[in-house]
Symmetry: C2
Subunit: 465 residues, 2 copies
């Protein structure tokens, strides 16, 4: 009977376990989980801290009982301390120090990621928080509940920083958002970032851009955040949200090959070079369908898919991971921002000849009540017409997340701008337009290319159909 | 200078004119429009009659001035009476009887469709209405405004019937909906139709199914609607909404070839067999990407696309219509219903080996406030795994229209269920789930096929991720 051991009990690890069980009802599956919270929705932490999710237990994708009912053994509060690849065994230790060696036939590493600790002096001070696990979430929750916290600085204006800016504002806390670069949400272009900032301004989040933090100092009960030249903020607590790095110490020590950002190298079957050893999720490098080189792209959706592939293959299957196209969406108050594919600068760096247009149009026929404006940025290759990326920004009820998914679906077929314009998309006056906003953007792009501009331009919106 | 003459000023005709102008700035473009309302959103009529659109002028996709500013000549209230293909001329007549012969180098027929008149005795009575043009819309509006109309019967439970049931209810009128078949909205499967009926019931629309109308009689101030056996309804007015048929009398008289449902036969360039004569929109047969035979598929989105292709080619281009996949969406009160591709029975008739699953899951992570259930029916070929159709039903803010568009985009690439499951779709807890509902359906389908059931089954919902 095949023994499958999985290290890590978050999205990738549990997906792998469940899929292995589906594929092979007879194999033994054990998941080594460092904490007591298997299969929790880490993406849901901001909504717990905002107060929208009242019971943290609701964040579990599945309960422990549900996972175990499928015949998966959960080894909770077991820390994997060493991988003995030569003898096919994982060494673990529990909180009370007891050690256990777990033999495997197939090993899946799903060790995830940890927050980056930027080189800031004072980063170890009390009142500083990171957010990546249930434990770190409880720490922040406890601090906010027991201290009179009125002003919180967030370092980093990416997804977590923005979601936490909303969450803390929702809690009645004044938020100071410090962003190193020139605009927030640097995963989209600055014209979109500027609109995100307008949303933050409307909700009285104090945003400072071009604000590289070098030091945090404690002055009495308060924290002072400094750049090289000036004081950037004074506050009661600091959340550091400057991204994550793969958690690959175990893999590295065991001699597994590491790639981009020291993430574990796997092939399209999620197999490492070591026979019988797979890896999936936020600890590995990911194939991007629009790029020739693998990237580090830690995302929950990708982790689920990679985990499923690793689990199937560990159980004897031959599944291939189809690759990511970098589809992402975030809600910031009443605004939704989504992207898929490449930004223009990323496309250029990858050797494409990108041309980008930006349009503003209505989410549905403007005569039908409730029509809202949305923004589409469409990037495609000037020579081949192949769609390379899309960014969208709009209102909560404008289906931005699913609109970007239409482009994402097209990427899997190498769709051109002409083909995007040809898609038979749905329409009813309260729900859309005869030409979908993506197709309005496609037509603007084709017109722009035909006009032969040498440099990317921003097109005015066409009259919405 | 090329003279392009277009007969018909609705979606296909105006799209053709605008595209021809873009492609060839020098050609002369004339559009023969039977009424005074070029480029009106016929799909918007129910929202005018509901009172949501207060000024009917708002229904215009573009104003007359906007169209003419582009250098398109509009011949309003000109009825085309005869096509003289031998001499390349269109004969027209105005309301006051004056005749005019308009020569062309390229002709585009965009004559649209007219309501079907079912074989019902009494269908010519006063108080009966059809809905397909601004004029018919004004007639109904005037009647409702000047008569004490408390009960209206709608014959036909398709898109227009359902939208008008909502519109009249919104106006405070009691609606009796009579549907010939066993469930409303026969363009989706009956399990979805049953849920649509629940929505109608909630809003006190009186629905009678299996109700074939054979006669309408006037009794004093009221109309009595009868089947062969019984009285179905008594009411103050009747709206007949039993579909449309192509308006092709001109084409037929001119000897152009007609196909399915007497719609004009065109090739993929929208060209008829007659050199220089194109046709587009609700008067033609349409290529369906999942079917080998062309179908009659009158839809606004398709009309826009076909018009664009016809206009480009009439102006000297060589554009090909990419085909329809039958994507449709409708709002019925707070419920949205969408479909794309084929129903199982249509797939069987087309020679596929369809297998269908139906799942119910959440539109986003259930811990995030406001999560709503939605239904996905997924049909795919048992042998090849190719996706053949999807139907969805959900709430107004669950992005149903754009979710179906993800499947529609996939059709253009011949997507399989495995590939649907592989799509890199967006996720954030308030906006989606790590596995999109379409992917939950894909996994249910794969499990169903693997289980080897001989007949299609309905799968229970999986736990939403």
């Amino acid at each position: 009977m095949t023994q499958i051991v999985i290290v890590g009990g978050s999205d990738a690890g549990i997906s792998a376990a469940l899929r292995a069980r589906e594929v092979d009802a007879a194999c033994q599956i054990s998941v080594v989980v460092a904490d007591a919270f298997p299969n929790y929705s880490i993406c849901g932490l901001p909504y717990y801290l905002s107060g929208e999710v009242r019971d943290w237990r609701a964040l579990a994708h599945r309960t422990r009982a549900e996972i175990e009912a499928g015949g998966v053994t959960l080894l909770l509060e077991h820390t994997a301390t060493h991988l003995d690849l030569a003898h096919c065994a994982v060494h673990t230790q529990t909180a009370n120090g007891s050690e256990r060696v777990i033999p495997y036939d197939r090993l899946i590493l799903a060790t995830g990621a940890t927050p980056r600790r930027p080189p800031i002096s004072g980063i170890e001070l009390e009142g500083l928080f990171f957010l990546h696990s249930m434990k770190s979430s409880f720490q922040l929750q406890r601090y906010l509940s027991t201290h009179r916290t009125r002003h919180v600085a967030i370092i980093g204006g990416g997804y977590i920083g923005l979601e936490m800016a909303e969450a803390l504002t929702h809690r009645g806390i004044h938020v100071i958002l410090l962003q190193r670069g020139a605009s927030v949400l640097s995963t989209v272009d600055s014209s979109i970032g500027a609109r995100v900032r307008e949303t933050l301004d409307r909700h009285r989040v104090d945003v400072t851009t071009n604000a590289p933090v070098v030091a945090i100092e404690r002055h009495g009960g308060r924290l002072r955040i400094r750049s090289a030249a000036t004081t950037l903020a004074e506050c009661d607590a600091v959340l550091v949200a400057t991204g994550v790095k793969p958690e690959t110490a175990l893999a590295q020590t065991a001699g597994l090959s590491l790639g981009a950002q020291e993430a574990i190298v796997v092939d399209e079957r999620m197999a490492t070079a070591q026979p019988g050893v797979y890896a999936a999720g936020d600890c590995i490098v990911t194939h991007h369908r629009l790029l020739s080189e693998p990237r580090y792209l830690p995302l929950g959706t990708t982790a689920h898919k990679q985990g499923r592939v690793a689990g199937e293959n560990a159980a004897g299957g031959a599944r291939v991971f189809a690759g990511s196209v970098g589809t992402q969406v975030v809600r910031v108050f009443e605004t939704v921002i989504a992207r898929t594919g490449l930004l223009e600068r990323e496309a250029s760096a990858a050797g494409y000849s990108p041309l980008t247009v930006e349009i503003t149009t209505w989410d549905h026929k403007v005569y039908s009540p409730g029509a809202q404006e949305l923004v589409v940025r469409l990037t495609a290759d000037r020579d081949t017409g192949r769609v390379l990326g899309a960014q969208m920004l709009g209102s909560l009820n404008s289906a931005i997340a699913k609109r970007i998914d239409v482009v994402a679906a097209g990427f899997h077929a190498g769709m051109t701008v002409d083909q995007l314009n040809d898609l038979d998309l749905s329409y009813a006056p309260p729900l859309g337009s005869p030409w979908d906003p993506l197709q309005v953007a496609a037509q603007a792009w084709l017109a722009e290319r035909a006009a032969g501009h040498a440099a990317p331009l921003t097109s005015a919106a066409r009259t919405a159909e």
